[in-house]
């Protein structure tokens, strides 16, 4: 664990923390969680702006914090982009960047500042004060300033939250390109899952300061470790069921749900009779055609009443009530919905593809089994 950034942070107040984070050189790790989950506090602990009660912060083998040692921010080589950017309002863009290049001989600071402003596509705007720059341009100055220190780790606190959608896309693309040029650990705090999915190599889900799950974004989205994570990720189609039987030989786990038996992809570690949560992504819910029964309809057929049918352009979101369960939603092509004359109040049959059913521990169940994806 010598290369890259490692942080383990614990405290009870003012925000409880029990978080762990590892970010290798060149890796972009996203910290995701709702507001108040301690994301910013974690960055502040790494930067030396906040002292946790206990834990450890290391970067490239150097100890920055361990309870007794606590290096001040000046001695930790981090670049931090604040959510508010926190530019120095009395200095030009170039002045902002140069001020952070104090470790460079005075004669070379201006050249370094200009080079960094060019790197973030701000050439020509060196002389502007922050107040004369747009939000996106300010963000770029903040990024250039963070890089001016030749940091060993780059920390970005919701860097795209304050800009419009078009600028955000542009800046996200620039960050992705920048990563190729600076091979240092980058930690990105965001509450935007799509942003994390698009940009990050790894994702850490935080809630109330606790690390709930770490892993590759796609993996976490497909296989959240608990109902809590699924809910934080805003995954729909989250239900409870009881384990009936484990069939590892056929890679299946059988569930009892709403009076029917469902086959799911094998989920080891759960015993028959145990109450669990499960999710199925909308793309694994297949509507049966009325006119022409097709293959695969024997797989977990479920009948329900259409509660809602909302067309949004080319896709239609269909919500079905099965028994007294929460709504089961799926997205189908609008023309497909028309052809099946789908409307609220009708009976519909769907197949839940076993491959897409992910079983996890229920809310309040003992943690620890699936803490890592």
């Amino acid at each position: 664990m010598s290369a890259g950034l490692y942080a383990r942070l614990e405290q009870e107040a003012p925000i409880p923390l029990a978080a762990e984070l590892h970010c290798a050189p060149g890796e972009l790790a996203a910290l995701v969680g709702p507001s108040g989950s301690g994301k910013t506090t974690i960055l502040r602990c790494i930067a030396g702006l906040h002292r946790p009660r206990a834990g450890e912060v290391r970067c490239n083998g150097a100890l920055w914090y361990d309870g007794s040692i606590d290096l001040p921010p000046q001695e930790r080589r981090v670049g931090l982009v604040f959510q508010s950017y926190a530019l120095f309002p009395h200095l030009s863009a170039l002045g902002n960047v140069m001020l952070a290049a104090g470790h460079v001989p005075p004669g070379q600071r201006e050249a370094k500042g200009r080079a960094l402003l060019e790197l973030v596509n701000l050439a020509g705007l060196e002389g502007r004060r922050p107040a004369q720059l747009s939000g996106g341009q300010q963000q770029r100055v903040a990024l250039a300033r963070a890089l001016a220190r030749d940091p060993e780790a780059l920390l970005l606190d919701e860097p795209f939250a304050a800009v419009d959608r078009v600028t955000r896309r542009k800046l996200q693309r620039e960050l992705a390109l920048l990563r190729e040029r600076v091979r240092i650990p980058i930690v990105l705090v965001t509450h935007d899952l799509d942003e994390a999915r698009v940009l990050a190599d790894s994702m850490t889900i935080l809630h109330h300061g606790k690390t709930l799950q770490r892993g590759v974004p796609g993996e976490i989205l497909a296989r959240p470790c608990s109902a809590e994570v699924a809910r934080l990720l805003d995954l729909g189609n989250l239900f409870e069921a009881v384990i009936l039987e484990q069939r590892p030989e056929s890679n299946r786990t059988l569930l009892e749900w709403s009076g029917t038996t469902l086959e799911a992809r094998h989920a080891p570690g759960f015993s028959p009779g145990e109450r669990v949560s499960w999710v199925v992504a909308p793309e694994y819910v297949i509507l049966h055609r009325r006119d022409r029964p097709s293959q695969g309809e024997r797989e977990n057929p479920v009948q329900g009443i259409v509660e809602e049918c909302v067309s949004m352009g080319e896709t239609t979101s269909v919500a079905i009530r099965v028994g007294d369960q929460p709504w089961l939603t799926m997205n189908i092509a609008t023309h497909h919905a028309r052809r099946n004359q789908l409307a609220a109040g009708q009976t519909a049959t769907v197949t839940l593809l076993a491959e897409g059913i992910h079983i996890m521990q229920k809310d309040g169940a003992q943690r620890g089994r699936a803490a890592r994806a």
Binding site: G48, L49, P73, S84, F88, A100, G102, R145
Partner: protein, 220 residues
């Protein structure tokens, strides 16, 4: 026109500002940023000279500086002369009664600097001192100039405390405001009028500078 009194007033004002502004800046910064218990009471203490009658303030300062107090005795043993009724005593008193004029504008100025901007300076590798010099000071500058000007103007214009503290010793404690009072008492209307007009112009100029600066800050 009592030029020596005017000169003494300016000398007193310059020394007060020179000594008080750095101390005031430190107090202002602490009040602005350091979380502390009983902050409201500390602020009240700093503001006290604004509301206390100059006679009350003068009375307490006089007792504190007199030969019977430890401060008066210590000064007497070092300087060989009493603190009360001396220029240095007046200077010390002036620093006390100018405290709110020096501290409050700077406190507002420091409070206006976002915490994150200071943290950004530290994270950018600037030491606390560099961050103060390169970031905090330039940002708080209009407030510091306000403090300076207000302290100077207020010192030049102070009457009650000076009268209580220094008496009326020419070249030592007779300031311009005392000289005006003195001239009026002596029915020297023209001298009183000239000095009053000068003090008026001076005060207007000083306050004008303060407002011009805060105007510029608002527009920046």
């Amino acid at each position: 026109m009592d030029w020596s009194a005017f000169g003494l007033s300016l000398e007193l004002a310059a020394w007060t500002a020179l000594l008080l502004v750095p101390i005031g800046a430190w107090i202002a910064r602490e009040l602005a940023w350091r979380p502390m218990a009983g902050k409201a009471w500390l602020e009240a203490l700093v503001a006290l000279p604004l509301v206390l009658p100059p006679t009350v303030l003068g009375y307490y300062l006089l007792s504190a500086f007199g030969g019977g107090s430890w401060l008066g005795q210590a000064y007497q043993s070092i300087a060989g002369r009493p603190l009360a009724f001396s220029f240095n005593g007046l200077l010390l008193a002036s620093m006390v009664f100018n405290l709110p004029f020096a501290v409050q504008p700077m406190q507002r100025a420091f409070e206006a600097i976002p915490q994150e901007v200071r943290e950004a300076a530290w994270v950018s590798g600037l030491s606390r001192w560099s961050a103060f010099r390169r970031v905090e000071l330039p940002l708080a500058w209009p407030g510091i100039v306000s403090s300076l000007v207000l302290t100077v103007a207020h010192t030049v214009g102070e009457f009650g405390v000076v009268l209580m503290m220094g008496g009326n010793i020419p070249g030592e404690t007779r300031t311009i405001s005392i000289a005006i009072y003195d001239r009026v008492q002596a029915f020297d209307e023209s001298a009183a009028a000239a000095m009053s007009a000068m003090l008026l112009a001076f005060s207007l100029l000083a306050i004008g500078i303060v407002y011009a600066l805060s105007d510029r800050r608002r527009r920046a």
